[in-house]
Symmetry: D2
Subunit: 364 residues, 4 copies
């Protein structure tokens, strides 16, 4: 399995930055789920390039569904989602066939595909391919919402500026679901965007941290050991380009605590066993405990910068310099958050189908 | 797949803390690899309880190979490794059938297995099951070494005390391979151990961070997207109990950098394309670039502490208190490092077999 | 996994008989394989409806490749093949939402998808979906040929008429590769076609047996037990609609022999160990022995007949009669053979990649 | 995946004919299923060598469960079943390291494992490994019975003698469940056994056909295309050594019918949609239709015969003769039937868990 993820609900992605089409096949999702094309379009627009803080490449990202949906609902058979590429400027990329860009996959692609890879704009490694994940994820997100499971991701830090943490989850996730720049504290939005603009002007880029909350996920889902919820979620999240770290609950901070401060006490809350803190992020022993699932994801700075960089000319192995051309994002963190939501939603649909059967997500 | 990991080289683990036997089946590993039972025993001893800083439960952890090895070499067919449990005190655990221990999987096991789970000592969720991983991993580690691929893990931080980072990788990994307490800077060993003893006396526990380096791994292995090296490594690492965070290269720190500081420049070094820094930790676009693979793992404090904790009596859903009995580790970080080495080795053998075929690891 | 097959080389298929598009995603196949669009078109035409012995529905079946091919060669990343549906007559199918056609999947689709399935023309169960397999298979077949591995399938029996068995394999496969009606003995072609026409005039249908030979496949590929070559080949072949039996070598006939007549003697032939007979069909213990792989496949008669049939009206569960409308094939055996070739080729590419690595099929 | 089968319920098998132990790990089966060790022993005895018609090697085949069962019920975590080998005579096999036995896997094992395979008694390819499948299958069979799903297999033909077909399924399966030689018509038992004795005296062997019925399996389980019930069942059945053909319903005979005779008419029977014939063997479009699932399996003659056979001495590639020593079965058909039942049961448990969730088989 290379570009297919999942066991019962699976997603297959395909395409290249400068190819004809990108897209996804979403398979195994329950029959009878409402497919709302406006919602898919809205999710796609959350991933789109925004004003001065994003690439100048503008794609319509219209999603065409060519199979698996009948009378506005999922059939239970593969849903194929196609997105045409339109605004490619392939002439910007000729050099990349032999001069690998630092921080990009150009060199490793060469090691794996021996020069046969489509190098234009990063080819199949391009963040553009996440558009297919977002399209497929929109169906998954909608299906989960109908079951009371809500996902929201915000920009926890970017360029040295921090958002507040999650508070009232229900309200926070609701607000994030339509935010064009996903922060919980409105007052940090402009500083963050200004910071991104500033690095862009310097020909540089920034990364950031995303924080995701999943609310309403039932207890008892996941597996001990190899298919722990953390395992399957991190597997998917590390597929997203630029992600270099994933943690659950208090994550790395837990490593510095003592057991008496890190253990979450159990309490009877309205007849359910809940924990009074949530340092383990809703997962114990690899299995959901009914508390919100909390994930933080580290996104490295966009590797495409406009400063001169060192590289090797692979034609003669000489050391050389490279100045990247083309249109690039000074940051992707604000675009990545809907990718994280979508990716997580796909994993959760798979886990729920494995646990409760293929009909569980069917709308009544 | 629940307790089986991998595609071409797979490992299946089984057993419970207080059952008759635990173990592993290692399948698909190349034929002709030397199996050194002394080395397996040595690896098992690296995982064993040590002096005052570990549980009083002492297991011989003798590994019995009952299939898949013939004339001292792997046959290519499943290798079954069995380890008998001997020093169980099951009477200590009666209460856990209905009073979930905070930070443990008792409650989520109940949600998933409805009371049929073996709750004694955490049952199948116990860290004891990692002994099977270590036994199987020993064969994988040996096979990789024969190909010039070396793995080492040290305790980067524990109880507020930090080790130095990796320096001369070859020497560092060599030293770690036989260290009873895996730190690179000898002068931090005693302070760390004393800190663990101190929390034990308080009836408390500590966690820590592990740092792993993989040296000599060839470029061009891994996949873009769903089977990125980060994806498959993190999938495996999050299977290990108590792991709550995983990062590659500079990981979360990358999120705070700019592209011009985070990109690793390419240089011709002795005829090979290498990077002059290694902030991406040997992986670009999900594929190895030939530089050392660097992983950091967050291990939460052992949840078994001897202080009074809050829980719910699931028989009548009343709030109650719990004082844990039994023998427990005040820290597992020093025992976890060989588990991380073993787990990583199993993933890498699988990736190499997928990339280069099932005979690649055969010893000539 | 539902519509995705394979481990290293995978194929995902999608679409419905009356949807917008059908197609396939072929992933994991080696980089650098020449992709010959004329050859793909030629293979598609082998699957097409022929004259009076096939459905009146005529589809151009033009294959559009929208990813994974660059400069006329495979890149190593997912190849997406799209085929538009054009000649649907959906009005013919209104009744099928509640009156299941005997021998079709209408009833079982209802049991699984609860009425959300696209019932028009059999929806996702339609034999039309095999067009995606043939398109993907064409790339696999071409890749195998470049390695000296050739596949050919002929109609062994149809409507009571039998073709001769394989003789000179090389010549036979060469002839079959372009035959519009795949028989080895030219003199049986017209009688078979006339028999199909005759059953069509009666409003009835026929099935038949296909025999497949794979020549040049290397020894030592496959697995004992669960991934025996027979297991993976039969898994794929039973995916093809209407296939109800699969046998290897002398298959069911072996059941009536004695060991002394069924064992294939080993002989040194030109320096290679070969067998002087090939009753086991090139596979021993699940692993190829270097002899031609021989497979026979039973194809049931097309269930779409124009005679009155008994069914149940699922709206009120009353017994009723049904006369099928629409355009249908009186036989599919002559169209199925290229599907079998394609399906087998995809399995073999996967097995070769697992055994020898992902670059093995790369053209030099 | 090599020795592991399944997606949600999985079985891993291991061991060699002359190794220390063989066995299986059954994972993912629902918690709370009663595990009846007497029933497991009874199933093992159905697989055992019987009197003059079987090998002189006699194994106690005592199954030791070392994990996954607690208080007599499944826990939901991996169940490990171990069987010690006791009655090996390894001295009989020295020659096989270089002289491949016709019809056996000795040669293909050499091509795949390069001489590192355990060649004694066929090693990991030995039919003895099916003992693990039978042990694991016994738990699956018991779980299915508690849900009203019953499986029975009889010897349809052996040595030219035929049993009657299935009649009253419930009674037939009940009778088969304890039969020491599984035929439906008592009057064919002695002739079949005498025929086996006769070939044994000639130093020869026979094969046969098995017919399996699965009664009470719910409609709506399975998948169109790659995970059709036929696909997953045949995948498993072709894993069993000596199986060279598999057909469903009327199978190969369907290929010679017309659609009007092969289609099964639907009728309302006591409020359920059923078919008045069952030529498709309970599966339409890859999905169960609620009718009994009917499978026939071709078993080739045991390749171990005592007549002189031709082979190649792989040390110098000279043509030579071979007379097999050791103790062997003149037929395995009577021992294979419980292997088929077990194998089918494991597949069905997996399919049911995928369709209805991991708790579906839990006993109330």
């Amino acid at each position: 399995m290379k570009n297919t993820f999942g066991s019962s609900v699976t997603v297959t992605i395909f395409g290249e930055s400068h190819g004809a089409m990108i897209g996804a096949v979403l398979d195994g999702i329950a029959p009878g789920i409402e497919v709302d094309e406006d919602f898919i379009a809205a999710q796609m627009s959350l991933r789109k390039a925004v004003g001065k803080i994003s690439t100048a490449r503008h794609e319509a990202d219209e999603v065409k569904i060519v199979s698996g949906v009948f009378n506005g609902r999922t059939t239970g058979t593969p849903i194929t989602l196609l997105i045409a590429n339109q605004d490619q400027h392939s002439r910007d990329y000729g050099e990349l066939a032999y001069k690998a860009r630092p921080g990009h996959a150009d060199f490793t692609a060469q090691m794996k595909y021996h020069g046969f890879q489509d190098f234009r704009g990063g080819g199949h490694f391009s963040g553009r391919i996440t558009a297919g994940l977002v399209a497929a994820g929109a169906i998954a997100i909608k299906a989960l919402r109908a079951k009371g499971i809500h996902i929201g991701t915000h920009i926890l830090t970017c360029g040295g500026i921090s958002d507040r943490g999650f508070g009232n989850l229900e309200a926070d996730i609701e607000n994030l679901s339509t935010a064009d720049f996903a922060v919980l504290d409105d007052s940090v939005k402009e500083p963050m965007m200004k910071r991104i603009e500033a690095v862009r002007e310097e020909g540089d880029s920034v990364g950031g941290r995303l924080e995701t909350a999943i609310n309403g996920f039932p207890a008892g889902v996941g597996e001990p050991w190899f298919d722990s919820l953390e395992s399957v979620l991190s597997h998917m999240l590390f597929s997203i380009p630029a992600v270099k770290g994933v943690e659950f609950g208090d994550g790395f901070a837990l490593a510095d605590m003592t057991g008496s401060s890190s253990n979450d006490p159990f309490r009877n809350v309205s007849g359910n066993v809940m924990t009074s803190t949530n340092r383990s992020g809703g997962i114990l022993g690899g299995i959901s405990d009914g508390m919100p699932i909390i994930i933080r994801t580290a996104v490295k700075p966009t590797p495409s910068i406009f400063k001169e960089q060192q590289t090797v000319d692979m034609r003669d192995m000489s050391n050389t310099d490279l100045v990247i051309k083309g249109r690039h994002d000074p940051a992707v963190i604000h675009r990545a958050r809907v990718v994280v939501d979508s990716a997580a939603a796909l994993v959760l649909c798979d886990q729920l189908a494995l646990r409760f059967g293929t009909d569980w997500l069917t709308n009544d």
